[in-house]
Symmetry: C2
Subunit: 368 residues, 2 copies
Amino acid sequence: MAETVEHKTYPLEHLHEFCKRVFMSFGVPEDDAVTAADVLQASDARGIDSHGVARMYAYHGMLKLGRINPKPTIRIVRETPSTAMVDGDNGLGLVVGPRANAIAMDKAEAVGSGWVSVSNTNHYGIAGYYPLQALERDLIGWSMTNTSALVTPLWGAERMLGTNPIAIAFPGLEEPPIVIDMATSAVPFGKIEIARRLRRSIPEGWAIDAEGRMSTDPEAVIQGGALLPLGMDRDHGGHKGYCLSAMVDILCCVLSGANWGPFAPPFAPAFAAGLSVPEAQVGKGIGHFFGALQIAGFIDPETFKRQIDAWIRRFRATRPAPGTDGPLIPGDPEREAEAVRRRHGVPLPMPVVEDLRRISRDTGVPFD
Amino acid sequence: MAETVEHKTYPLEHLHEFCKRVFMSFGVPEDDAVTAADVLQASDARGIDSHGVARMYAYHGMLKLGRINPKPTIRIVRETPSTAMVDGDNGLGLVVGPRANAIAMDKAEAVGSGWVSVSNTNHYGIAGYYPLQALERDLIGWSMTNTSALVTPLWGAERMLGTNPIAIAFPGLEEPPIVIDMATSAVPFGKIEIARRLRRSIPEGWAIDAEGRMSTDPEAVIQGGALLPLGMDRDHGGHKGYCLSAMVDILCCVLSGANWGPFAPPFAPAFAAGLSVPEAQVGKGIGHFFGALQIAGFIDPETFKRQIDAWIRRFRATRPAPGTDGPLIPGDPEREAEAVRRRHGVPLPMPVVEDLRRISRDTGVPFD
């Protein structure tokens, strides 16, 4: 379902500088603004267009409305040698996330593993950014977050869970790392929105309408319907996608004291999907969950990496299904996108360019 | 797809005693035999018929062939305060698993979390048994294992991964716990075997034939085909099921030095599926991965449990999809089965009864 729209291409560094300065214009300290821009840049570099600068209009809107604290006092509320609960003081998730992830990594280096649940935070960019940080320290990193509710549990007819992603990465020695970063819904909401714009139907198994019936009409999904969990129906394991999403919800929110399930506060783009503000609060902000495992706490790291290389090579050699080039290794598509974009820049659709120009006019930070 | 076969019903205690004595007849020490029988009993009690006494023919066969060590010296090869790598000395997974899980739980009580990867082990029963043990100690328990390869990666035409389950459980206060225990394939292989016996076709999206084409013919799947990962095809997120299975494979096997992916040694029932012995070994036995998180390392446990109660109640109140009673809470079906079976016993299909009678004749342990 390709969408043909006009694009304008920008170097990664240009976008990074713009984001950093926009954050700083709201009082975000420079170090934090750089970190936040780093997270967005990772998304744009890796081809995950929905989570990079395309989201600046939302961060900008939330900062402008005073809904996000530009200078949070991020603090550890409770801890043990290998765990911590962090209160993000309603900061940017792009700042709170990296800080909490660093706590998990520090603990992993000290005692073998580190696990941090975070409340009172906001959207943290791509889940995959965090395990990539861990790779640089010879750690296996995990990250999860809840998001605004758009997904129904199996057999439900209501938006109860976010697309709640799980990310984890494993380093190779000569091969590039295996990087898993996946939502626990069948598809992201963006695919429904694209189908609506193109006036195309969507495949069975992506979503339901407001009555809870499986629907192929994107308009019906947007008007009060919901995404289906990975696995779609009972026969194909829809209960498993629901279980995974529930797991993420509980680790991120119940374990941290954040708003779980349907109580997740909306992120600005969620309004576009017709999401209403939840009726109540059961905690603070949204929640994240980070983990880090010291490879050397289990096995010699070089032995591990050599086996990862062997794993990758054996899986690349899988007999291909007809009409395909065979299985990919998790992280392949993002790595290929990054090679192109580091060289040629990031193609932004004109509506995103217009958003960034509006932000430029509003903040006085030059864009183009 | 109900299968009507003759059954005979046995009390759980009767089956437990039989299993324990069969294990002991091969030299398994009594404590270990009790533990192994406990794990099988949990499966039969919870209605997961494939993983309880129905598997005794396989454990019996492996012990009789000398393929499993009845008296393993289970040892920690490497450790940090919160991690360990354990060598199971080719013991029963039903003995090695609980021992390794206990190490993870002890570490969680000491330093907040515990993570144990295990090599040189064998099939460990239901993944859900292990987090249930953790619940008793106010811990959030995780368990994963690899299994004999039956699943293709997305776009593959080859059995490369096991059905690699993930289990995790969360305690409620007044509500029963949330217990997640799920394979990462769309369906278990047993569903293909049942369809073959009943001469029924299977739904699209479960499996492929030997050429890698999606197939509705169970015979074609058994003759060299493979199960599809959760999500089935690219459009419905088959790459995500593949990612989850890869994650389990790497944590269980690469991190422990066990046989990953297609190198997993076959468990006896795998022979029935036409699985051949892998061409080589890349490690020792199969692998497990256990985790435990101390709830109090993040948040006051009573606060946590009250929110779990609230979570359960809100999710039970989800508006139901048409033709359903609404979403279940993960663990509901197993808990309902357990209530019935603790009272009325376990209905065993006659082929399973015949297997147990054969084991009885072979070992001299009375059955019925």
